[in-house]
């Protein structure tokens, strides 16, 4: 108990120190781009309302969740197939690798020029941003199935698809989850960029509009909310990982 209180104290020390320091400094020397935390707190009260959540946060969440799930499922399915079928992998992996190497933000203007502005464009941006990292990590995880398990598959006469679903994917679940976790951040990034570049809807657009109309405190509110969404999703994923594959995340010691 004492240890926990101690750790909470040390964890909160720096953020509270920064906030107090920031408040005092901006009292002496006001900077329009760094309004005091008290004013940002005031802006939070002002900005956050049911209408605002419905008009700015809800569209972002729809884009993020639909895009993430579609991208992750496509990545898992295609990745598993490429992991299982070596000939397909040899042909398709270089092109998947190439598309993944294009910075995810750079794909946004391309998708915009093909699809125009709209909800489907924003969702597609997230789908494409998530699809390729998930696909690559799944291929790598499936291709690295241990020989004993492949022998087991032969002994049980499961065949390729059933063996893939019942043996190879479960064996690779830890690495697949790591790939899925890493692409949550990419998904949030893609969502924000697609909203910033001209859509006019969502939290990304709210941040850009607040900046261009000099409502700097509101812009800070947007930044904090995006941070909280990222943090919450990260935490949620860590919980899921430890629930689904405790052996993997314990043995690797991947504590973020």
């Amino acid at each position: 108990m004492k240890k926990k209180v101690n750790s909470i104290f040390w964890t909160l020390l720096l953020p509270s120190f920064i906030l107090i320091f920031w408040e005092i400094v901006s009292g002496f020397k006001p900077n329009p781009f760094f309004p005091p935390p008290s004013r940002i707190a005031g802006a939070i009260q002002e900005v956050i309302s049911i209408e605002w959540i419905l008009s700015s946060v809800k569209p972002s969440f729809i884009v993020l969740f639909v895009g993430y799930f579609v991208g992750a499922i496509l990545g898992l399915v295609i990745g598993s197939l490429l992991g299982e079928f070596v000939k397909m992998r040899i042909v398709f992996l270089p092109i998947c690798n190439f598309i993944r190497s294009i910075p995810s933000v750079a794909k946004v203007p391309l998708i915009l020029s093909i699809m125009g502005l709209g909800l489907s464009t924003r969702i597609s941006t997230v789908v494409i941003a998530v699809l390729f990292p998930v696909l690559m990590s799944t291929v790598r995880a499936i291709a690295a199935t241990r020989n004993e398990l492949l022998d087991l598959n032969r002994t049980l006469k499961f065949g390729r698809i059933r063996g893939l679903v019942s043996i190879r994917v479960p064996a690779a679940i830890g690495e697949i989850l790591t790939g899925l976790h890493a692409s949550v951040q990419v998904a949030v990034l893609a969502m924000i960029v697609s909203e910033m570049l001209g859509s006019g809807v969502g939290i990304g657009a709210f941040i850009i509009q607040s900046q261009s109309t000099f409502r700097i405190a509101n812009m800070w509110v947007g930044v904090f909310i995006v941070g909280l969404i990222g943090l919450a999703l990260n935490y949620l994923f860590m919980k899921i990982e430890r629930k689904v594959a405790p052996w993997y995340f314990k043995s690797k010691g991947l504590i973020a």
Binding site: V91, P94, K107, S113, G227, L231
Partner: protein
């Protein structure tokens, strides 16, 4: 004529790449015919445009600017990450003090800081460098601290026996041993650094290929947009491959992750 095994291997690789290119081209043409609009040009017109682009001296200037920004941001970020990572891994109090703030900053997509940076210092090369350094340091710091924590106990005992000073412990024990973990971090954060320079070009118009891509998009030069995206893919692949080769050369005892 009978081929040597090495020659056969090269022929096979060549055949596979030719097949990949053929299938990609076929899929591209199918997509272009289905969309059937000017915004999805045919492959041959994009390849022609790509040829024109690489003949253009301004393109090379932009590429060099992009590289410079990436390298400067990467180096500053890496130095910062090493200092912060070593300090937090070697001092438990400092770790408790900083880890929540570092994790909070890591959860915020970097591009969110761009409007703030533009408002306070403008959209210059400096903005891209600051953001890149921030992204690299936040990405790499975790690898550095994990690398330090994974240092073998025998080496630490060895340092104790020889009464090494903290500085020489860091130089002779921790840094050599953490390189195997950090090399993966280098590879990932170099790609991220490049992506960040491009992102700040696209979103706020800092100099480099990102800005050129956005100009092409807003001028409705659709072939040019595709050409730039292909170039960015090639550069991204090269950065990744370069770090992969370096990793294998210098840290050959470690299995690649």
């Amino acid at each position: 004529m009978k081929l040597l095994p090495v020659q056969r291997k090269f022929v096979n690789i060549g055949q596979n790449y030719a097949l990949t290119f053929g299938i990609t081209a076929a899929l591209w043409e199918c997509a272009a015919l289905t969309v059937n609009s000017r915004s999805f040009p045919h492959l041959n017109s994009v390849l022609l445009d790509l040829l024109n682009l690489i003949k253009n001296i301004d393109f090379w200037k932009s590429l060099i600017v992009t590289f410079n920004l990436t390298i400067i941001g990467f180096v500053i970020g890496a130095l910062f990450a090493f200092a912060l990572g070593l300090a937090t891994a070697l001092n438990k109090r400092l770790n408790l003090l900083l880890s929540s703030s570092i994790n909070f900053l890591r959860s915020i997509p970097s591009v969110v800081f761009l409007p703030l940076l533009v408002a306070s210092i403008g959209a210059s090369a400096r903005t891209a460098i600051i953001l890149t350094a921030l992204v690299v340091s936040l990405k790499l710091v975790i690898f550095v601290s994990r690398g330090v924590l994974e240092t073998e106990m025998e080496h630490i005992e060895f340092a104790k026996i020889y009464h090494l000073s903290t500085f020489s412990k860091i130089c002779n024990i921790y840094i050599p041993s953490l390189f195997s973990v950090v090399s993966t971090g280098f590879r990932l954060s170099a790609s991220r650094a490049f992506g960040t320079v491009i992102a700040s070009g696209i979103i706020i118009g800092t100099p480099g290929l990102g800005r050129d891509l956005l100009f092409a998009e807003s001028n409705a030069e659709y072939e040019r947009v595709f050409s730039y995206v292909i170039i960015l893919g090639i550069v991204g692949t090269l950065i990744y491959a370069t770090f992969n080769v370096i990793e294998r050369q210098f840290i050959h005892w470690r299995v690649n992750i």
